[in-house]
């Protein structure tokens, strides 16, 4: 067992404790960025002037009418930017654009004494536009060959011979929609100027260091002159990884120019119309199976809808390509990715980061082909599971294949799938107007940032003279329970009660150069850094304790606030030890650092071992579909999920359940609609409010919802044997989509293959079951048995993917 993963006796990690802020949450005392406004004097409010066009040149901008509105203080335009006019790091996202690229794009910002004054001022600004042609839908972009960024390929084996040798080949297309994050707290920033001109920005950001960098480059400052703090977020889900920076920069620019604090909080409609979402994807594919239904070859081209700028589209696409295999061994593979440029919001990170889209493609392929192969879908899936020693299409070795098998069998057993399948068959035989089905799907999800450099973290731990402990680390709290886990890690490592440890808000002047709290890696990375810092302090204290107890330092033990030594009954209270250590001039604070070892990734070749490990899970979902309307209800969900040895079981359970329901929302309910007509509203988001964009509510909570953590799941080489949990369980909801497909198929004759739109709304389910009902042959869907339709390959002229970190490392190697 590694030092990192080994737990001491009676650890605080592993205990089911409530969220560290739970009492503040339930009493309304927990502060979020915008709650600071009434506590701040003389705050100005920012309001955007948004483009009504999907694509247009800005030919005139008159701000004088806004300044005539009572309460308007200033209008911020591109002329005000002292530094770089870019909200991102790729120089493709002008903060104040000359060319608007989507409906809702902010042209300029009005500052007012009240939000009402700023709103009225924004309405008074006069903008002249010269409309330009716009591409709105993904299909339009593909037809127009409107692409941006690299077009990577993951390949292994010999695709041609793999397909030729297959007994069954099919081809088809899969389309899947994006998803709005709909964090309950919209984007918010509050910026102020310090006495010496430094800028202090409080921001709802998952990536304070990058917010700091971008605020600095917009204002023409050095990073040391900008501090970003994130108290906590009211949800992030990836939507606050790249997207907060520009808004923070606007607030900071306003504060710099007026000398007053500036608050920028997006309304829900502004948030929906301005900020990026999960990427919708299109895939065309060709697949070959042997006589037993074993995958032989898969060729696919995935095209993501990137929106108007690149943002995180390239890494999202890379992760999508790395997850098309999901849990399945496919000997011959060629997967190509492309990013469409469309006149929509710039799509961005969202829990799963391309993984869900990649996995949906293979699950769609299997779900559609199973009836044509004459196999039960669950049988087809199980038959294709990886075995240890095999490797993924990008070359990472599989070492924990048994975990997936265990989870699969445990779900079958605890979910009583055999008995319930018989009950479903009985129900379907005796009900004319309703069908039930149980969908079962696996998840294998790679943990680590694909981009190797991001896999590092820092922490700063203080022990005060009275024995109390304050933990700073680089991760942000968005509800995922990271801070709770960090407190448990610190308490475990120092051997003190949980109540002795407190957590400070995330600040860039405490821990610098942090990575985004993203990729599910928050606890892995920051936990190891916190542990490192705590261990340094503990080692120093052990020297002091050794003298007091008369034992060698390695024999000193720290547990629950009591310091003891092997071979002596004498003990020292933690607080006493700390006090005496201070007087003995012992260094009582420490910076911790961690970098994930053993990662390798070549993003040009799309090969390597980018992941520290895989997280696994299996879900079985039972649904009932109403034949009259296509409406459906989830009856029961059974999940077994691999979180390693859980750091915090209540937190992990909450992550699994929440992710499942959020995934279910993406796959069934949440329906982003854009105006694709040629009318005046072209490019407008039609679902731009909570009344038109529906998230899961209490009605989507499965009445029976059994979640179990995989047992004996120790993860060697991760902090206290745990695994990441944020993203992987979202993809467990694919079992719901497959259950709906199977229930629709059950309205038709045996062997009916069903195409299901994504999201599978009641309307699309209705059309799918109607088609199944009218199916006379085997296929109600559009799986083409002919294998002659080839997915398009990459454009050789597309730019090479060359992240900054790899470029820098290559330079270092050359030096």
């Amino acid at each position: 067992m590694s030092a990192l993963s080994q737990r001491p006796p009676d650890p605080v990690v592993g205990r089911a404790v409530p969220h560290e802020s739970a009492e503040l949450h339930v009493t309304g005392h927990a502060l979020y960025t915008d709650d600071l406004v009434p506590r701040t004097k003389d705050v100005l409010h920012a309001w955007p002037v948004q483009s009504p066009h999907a694509h247009a040149r800005v030919t005139g901008l008159r701000t004088a009418p806004a300044l005539a509105v009572p309460g308007v203080v200033r209008v911020l335009t591109g002329d005000d930017v002292p530094g770089v006019n870019d909200a991102g790091v790729k120089n493709d996202e002008p903060l104040f654009p000359d060319e608007v690229c989507f409906v809702g794009h902010a042209v300029c910002w009005v500052l007012g004494e009240t939000a009402e004054a700023a709103r009225r001022g924004a309405a008074a600004v006069e903008v002249d536009y010269e409309p330009l042609p716009a591409i709105v839908s993904l299909r339009e972009a593909i037809a127009a060959e409107s692409f941006q960024g690299a077009q990577p390929t993951v390949a292994r084996g010999d695709l041609g011979s793999g397909l030729e040798g297959a007994v069954h080949t099919f081809s088809g297309e899969t389309e899947l929609a994006g998803q709005e994050h709909f964090y309950l707290e919209t984007h918010a920033s509050l910026a102020s100027v310090e006495d010496d001109g430094r800028i202090f920005v409080q921001s709802s950001t998952q990536h304070p260091s990058e917010t700091q960098e971008i605020v600095a480059h917009v204002l023409g400052l050095r990073s040391s002159e900008v501090t970003v703090q994130c108290l906590r977020m009211g949800g992030g889900f990836g939507g606050k990884e790249m997207q907060p920076h520009g808004y923070a920069a606007i607030a900071a620019l306003g504060a710099r120019l007026t000398g007053r604090p500036v608050r920028l909080r997006l309304t829900r409609t502004q948030d929906l119309t301005m900020t990026g979402k999960r990427h919708g994807f299109h895939a065309s594919w060709r697949v070959g199976f042997d006589a037993d239904g074993r995958l032989q070859a898969l060729e696919a081209t995935l095209t993501s809808d990137g929106g108007w700028s690149l943002d995180l589209s390239e890494p999202v696409l890379a992760r999508a390509l790395c997850h098309v295999d999901n849990a399945y061994w496919i000997p011959h593979v060629r997967l190509t990715g492309r990013i469409a440029r469309t006149n929509k919001t710039s799509q961005t990170a969202f829990r799963g980061f391309g993984g869900p889209q990649g996995m949906l493609v293979i699950e769609d392929v299997l779900g559609r082909c199973a009836p044509l192969l004459g196999l039960e879908p669950h049988e087809l899936r199980r038959r294709n599971f990886y075995e240890d020693g095999q490797s993924t299409p990008y070359g990472q070795r599989i070492t924990q294949a048994g975990r997936l098998v265990t989870a699969w069998e445990q779900v079958a057993c605890s979910g009583e799938l055999e008995r319930r399948r018989a009950e479903v068959a009985e129900f379907n035989a005796t009900h004319e107007h309703a069908r039930r089905a149980i969908g079962v799907t696996p998840v294998k999800f790679g943990i680590s940032f694909n981009l190797t450099a991001f896999n590092q973290a820092g922490a700063l731990v203080h022990v005060y003279k009275d024995g109390s402990v304050l933990v700073n680390h680089g991760g942000t709290e968005m509800g995922q329970g990271l801070h709770t886990k960090m407190l448990q890690v610190a308490a475990t490592t120092l051997g003190v009660p949980l109540g002795s440890v407190r957590l400070a808000p995330t600040r860039t002047d405490k821990v610098p150069n942090t990575s985004a709290t993203a990729a599910s890696s928050g606890a892995d990375l920051n936990g190891a850094a916190v542990k490192d810092a705590c261990e340094q302090i503990r080692e120093r204290l052990a020297q002091v304790a050794a003298q007091r107890l008369g034992v060698p330092a390695p024999d000193v033990r720290f547990s629950d606030g009591v310091v003891s030594g092997l071979g002596t009954d004498e003990t020292v209270p933690w607080d006493d030890l700390v006090r005496s250590a201070y007087f003995a001039r012992v260094h009582l604070f420490a910076a911790g650092y961690y970098r994930t070892e053993g990662l390798h990734w070549d993003s040009r070749e799309m090969r390597g071992s980018p992941f520290k490990y895989f997280a696994h899970g299996v879900a079985a979902t039972e649904v009932e579909v109403d034949g009259f309307t296509g409406a459906y209800r989830t009856l029961r969900v059974d999940i077994v999920h691999d979180v390693g040895d859980s750091l915090s079981p209540l937190v992990d359970l909450g992550q699994i359940e929440g992710a499942y329901v959020q995934g279910a929302g993406w796959l069934t309910l949440e329906d982003l609609r854009w105006d694709e007509s040629d009318g005046d509203g072209r490019g407008r988001l039609l679902t731009q409010s909570a009344s038109t964009y529906k998230l899961p509510s209490f009605s989507e909570l499965p009445p029976v919802f059994h979640v179990n953590l995989l047992e004996q799941a120790h993860e060697e080489g991760a902090v206290y044997g745990s695994k990441a949990v944020g993203e992987p369980p979202l993809m467990l909801a694919l079992s719901l989509r497959e259950a709906l497909r199977q229930a629709c198929a059950a309205f038709g004759p045996a062997g009916t293959s069903v195409d299901l739109a994504s999201p599978a709304t009641p309307e699309t389910v209705f059309w799918a079951l109607q088609e199944a009902r009218s199916a006379h042959g085997v296929s109600a869907g559009h799986v083409d048995p002919a294998a002659d339709r080839r997915p398009p390959g990459p454009d050789p002229a597309a730019p090479e993917r060359r992240p900054e970190s790899e470029a820098v490392l290559a330079e270092l190697a050359e030096d």
Binding site: P18, H19, S21, A22, E23, L24, H25, V26, T27, G28, A30, D34, V37, P38, A123, Y183, L184, E185, R232, G234, G235, G236, T267, R268, E432, H433, A434, M478, G479, Q480, G481, F628, T629, A631, L653, G654, G658, A659, Y660, V661, Q662, D671, R673, L686, S689, A690, S691, T692, K694, L695, S697, F698, S699, E700, L701, F705, P762, E763, F766, W767
Partner: protein
Amino acid sequence: MTTTSVPAGSGGGNDTGTAAPPGVTVNGAVLPLQGVTPHTTTLDWLRGRGLTGAKEGCAEGECGACAVLVACPATRPDGPPTEWVAVNACLVPAAALDGQEVLTAEGLGRPGALHPVQHEMAVRGGSQCGYCTPGFVCSMAAEFYRPGRTATTADDGRHDAAPDPEHGPNGFDLHALSGNLCRCTGYRPIRDAAYALGDPDETDPLAARRADPPPAPRHTVLEADGARFVRPRSLGEATALLAEHPDAVVVAGATDVGVEVNLRGARPPLVVAVDRLEELRTLGQTDDEIRIGAGLTLTEVERALDGRVPLLQELFPQFASRLIRNGATLGGNLGTASPIGDAAPVLLALDASLVLAGPEGARSVPLADYFTGYRTTVRARDELITEVVVPLPLAGTTAFTKIAKRRFDDISSVAVAVALDVVDGTVARARIGLGGVAATPLRARRTEEALTGAPWDGAPVAHAAEVLGSEGTPMSDHRASDRYRRAMLEQSLLRLHARSAGAA
């Protein structure tokens, strides 16, 4: 800003000499309504006062992050005179709460001294990011204190039998939380918290508060920022105001006007609050009819009818959310005349009529003759809907079908209400109300004709269903395609038939 504020119930007579400055009792302390305009929402006002527990998640009453509790008149004749009712603070104008009592999450408990609802939410993992949590806590507290919430008792006397998946063994109605959205938890721990609640303690001051009457409505006149908010003392005063001011808007729960103000920048110069006018708040039944006050909230109507009108009973849980039903009124739903309002199809099928009262007196209008076009009606500008009258006896075979993406709290793409008298296997009378398929709610007259006199049986029903599928002029939008809307019209009758035949 100029304001006056006197008890409305007194007719302005008794207490005019001692008019209290406008203010709201929040968490036990009176906060003056300073700096408030007629359009300032309760949420913005509370947050501006530093009570930032209530959050803005959507500003249109869809997410419940802003929920607060208001001391309201009893909804049950056999219960205590006051109930704690949860409403969306983002919709209710602060001025509308002049003289009232409000509780926020901060007032329920504090760290270290949690309210029972807060305790259950905290220890069971009911909060993750915590942003929706204060709103959930308020909605849950309202249900915790609801008179008539009683534990179901199993045969052996243990309180562990839940009657259905939407009620807890403690009688907790999950629909109480239907207007609160959480993006983090997936809701299971919140359900567990709700179902774990016991009864309020004997020493619980908020439970005890229910025993005294709620604050009387005040005659409020608040003027600021070029607009005026008036809570008139009587129906006559209200209609006189409407007659004088063509641009006045009427609010009860402000569940519609609040959205216009917040999302579309509406700033009506005069807002007239009618929700506490006694003339709009009666409910009575004779042998021939049920008369429902148009100013009663849907929650009040639901509790007062207590299942007496099965078609309405089917409607209520599907009408928006509990948070909205706590403010919304039938008068408001019919007054806005939205083609997708859910009450109209049901009331059309019930053959209801409306009483419209104006300065010149009252008149009765059949609902079927009420709508004249997209959001237009026969109601004169200075008339108010005072009552909805449902004739008796009720039809024997009824169904309400609402087609939407989400089961709780969604807007209909299609709504179909059917009321049939089936006598000896033949349809003697048919009334069908439709929503979402035309510029107005409408009666499916051709389908009613096709059904009347026909056997309630396979082929004639299938024929009538086909006719129903051709009623109206459905459109395609982000909620549904025209094709699906037509199909759902057709399917709704087939489903009712299958259900009545026991086959579905």
